[in-house]
Structure formats: C-alpha cells, structure tokens
Symmetry: C2
Subunit: 224 residues, 2 copies
C-alpha cells in the first residue's frame, strides 16, 4: 500500500515540518507515503535497513535485540502516534546499534523516506535536532531496561511487565503466551511459567491458554 | 585547582571550537578551566549535577548506575583524551538518565562549564550536533552492555572484562579486587570469586591478593 499523503496531514503528523521552507516541504510530501505491515512482518531486520522516520497510525511495532543464537529482548513498543527513529538511525553518524523491528499486529505507518530526510536534516539543523531528541528519549528507555535487568528480580520485572501491558491495552485480560513474555524479558519460558503459576497461587492472576487475567493490580505493584 | 587555559590549547582539545566565531571562543576560553579529582571523588552524584563537558587529560572516570539498594553496574570508563558528555547531559532536552560518575584514580580534566555551553549550543547547531554525536556513541555502548548482560553468560562476561582491562591498561597484571569486578559487572562478589577460582584451575589466570595475572589471553577469548 503506497498512498500519497495530503500536505496538511503530513504537517499534522510531524509538526516540526512547519519550520521547513515550502519547497522542501513539498518535496518531502511528494515522497512520504502510507505503508501497511502484516502481523509478524519484519520492519527492519538489521541495521543496514534504514527506511526512514515512521509515525505509527494504528497497530504496534516491537523494537528488540537478538543474539547470535536467536535469544531476544524487547526494548520498547511503539503504539498509535509514536514516532520510530530507529528505522532512520543511519541519518545519525554515530549510531552503531543493531535493533530489529517487527509489526506485532497489522500496523499502518506514515513513512518519511531516508533519502529525502538526509538532505533535509543536513540543511536544517532543527530537523536533525528533532531526530536527536527522539534518540535521547530512546536512550532513557534503554537505560530503564538495563536498570530493570540488572537491579530488579525477575518476579518484579514480570509484575511490572503485566501492569504495563494492562496500561497500554486498557484491559485486565491479556492475550499473551508465556513464550512471548519470556522473549520480551530476555528470559526462558520455563522461568516465566513457574513465576506465573506462583502469581496464580497468590491470587494475583488467573491463567488459561494464551490468556492471563490480572486479579490484583495493587498487590502486583508491590511484588519485590 | 582552577587554572586558565590557553586559547590554542582549548581548540586543540575541542577541535569543534574552530567553527565558532572568535568572540564566543574567547568567552568559552575565559570560563574553561582545569580540574583535579582525587581518587574516589564523586564527579557527578545524581543527574541534577551537570557541571559541563569534560575532556580527560590523565587518570580515569567511571560512569555507572546505582540501584536504590546501592547495587551498581559500570557502563563505561573514560581515559586520557576521552570526552565526557554525561556531565553535560542537562544541555540535551530529552536526556532523562541518572548516571553517576567517579574518579577511579587522581584524574585531571578540562571542563567547559554548562552555563556558557548552553548559550553556545543554542546559537550554534554544529555544537549541539557535536554533543549529540557523543550521546550517540554512548547509546551504542549502552546497547553493548545490555547485550552482554542479557545474552552472555557470566563466565564470558568476566573473560571479556579481564581482556578489556588488559587492553586498556597495557599489562597482564591487573590490580583488581573481586568486589570491584562484581560492581562493574552488576554481579555479586561470591559469584566472581567462584568463577575466578575456576579460571585459575583452568590455568587461565593466577590469583593473589587484589591482583590477577592473565596467563592465557587466547583461551580467555574463547570462554563461552
């Protein structure tokens, strides 16, 4: 799906563009397009791919790292109206990271392709500044993940994760496999299953196939 | 120790300044100074402190995170001619990180104080760009630490750490306590002592009080 975007809509999505001169805006506008990813589709498989800046309009993207042996850890997710800068990281000289991105559901994004962005960000420091501020946000998020991994116990991380999923999705009924949770937390499925079973015995959650219902958010928050 | 720096020397240390106009350079030069930190002195104890951009001229700085309970993990070290941007992170709007910095030996730095840098980086995008490129380098380093913690076993991390210390210090005789290594790797002293003992049995290292001699670098590199 490649569909031209109205100029007003592009400015609405990326307000930073109001500060660009008209001719540049027109050029960016002519190259920007909507793109749809299917469930599970890879948006970026290695750092060489660098499609451009994306704004998520529906669905969700998962940004993660993978080891040589295929082990994964999820760094963060992007939902409606979040902007994905890692798909444009080649615009930033010193970003040497190897993040992968996949669509977790059918996901629609507005894409500003790298080629035109590169010229624009070289000529307009304000645009480069904008990209850098997005990177700084992700830096903070990465720091948070590292803190969790090093300083928090797995029970605390699991409880934090379940609450986060509830806050993002708006429902206490989570459609989640134990495998999925293990991948997100960089752990093993057996470890997660054991902990969830313990949470169930403590009446914090109720488990059924690919499904977890949160029964006591307040007590989950207190897990140490 | 607060000592005025010759203008030529400031430009040598921060070549980016050649692109600044003369009056700004003069002002920066008038505020820049040498500072000496004693062994163990805190350079930055919480994110509120934001002294400015530092260039290490001798000694070494350790950048680390600390949990509420006092557990630590070392993110990276800065040696001679490395530039410390985390001590100026308040200049970057979206950097919300809580890094601590301490001098590991007597350390001398050249400091460009935040107050003057702030005006300069607002007026000169090229300077802000420079700060952002330093942040991007650290981003890549942080990603590496996270990868190590999540994907590598502790024996591999310990071996990598010992080799890194050898490469940085230039000697196979490392003055290191087990406690120090544990703090750097975000682990417990007992875990490190047990592993080092195993390394010694395998004739990879030789241990004595506060001292580790590396006996076989090639085999240390192969530890899985």
């Amino acid at each position: 799906m490649k569909q031209i975007i109205a100029e007003t809509s592009l400015i609405n999505e990326f307000p930073i563009l109001t500060k660009m001169p008209n001719d540049l805006l027109e050029r960016l506008n002519a190259t920007a397009f909507w793109r749809r990813y299917e469930l599970g589709e890879q948006v970026q498989n290695r750092k060489e791919s660098c499609d451009g800046l994306m704004k998520v309009k529906s669905g969700s993207l998962r940004v993660f790292m993978q080891s040589e042996s295929g082990k994964e850890i999820t760094l963060y997710r992007l939902y409606k109206n979040d902007t994905c800068v890692m798909s444009a990281s080649c615009l930033l000289n010193n970003m040497d990271v190897d993040f992968l991105i996949e669509a977790e559901t059918e996901t629609i994004v507005i894409l500003l392709p790298t080629t035109y962005l590169r010229n624009a960000s070289d000529s307009y420091p304000i645009l480069k500044d904008y990209l850098n501020e997005l990177v700084q946000q992700r830096f903070s998020q990465l720091t948070w993940v590292l803190q969790q991994v090093v300083f928090s116990s797995m029970p605390t991380r699991l409880a934090t994760y379940l609450i986060e999923m509830y806050v993002n999705g708006g429902s206490k009924n989570l459609e989640l496999t134990h495998e999925r949770i293990a991948t997100d937390l960089g752990s093993a499925r057996e470890v997660i299953s054991r902990l969830l079973k313990y949470f169930q015995e403590e009446k914090l959650v109720s488990l059924s196939r690919s499904h977890i219902e949160l029964l006591n958010i307040d007590r989950l928050k207190q897990i140490k």
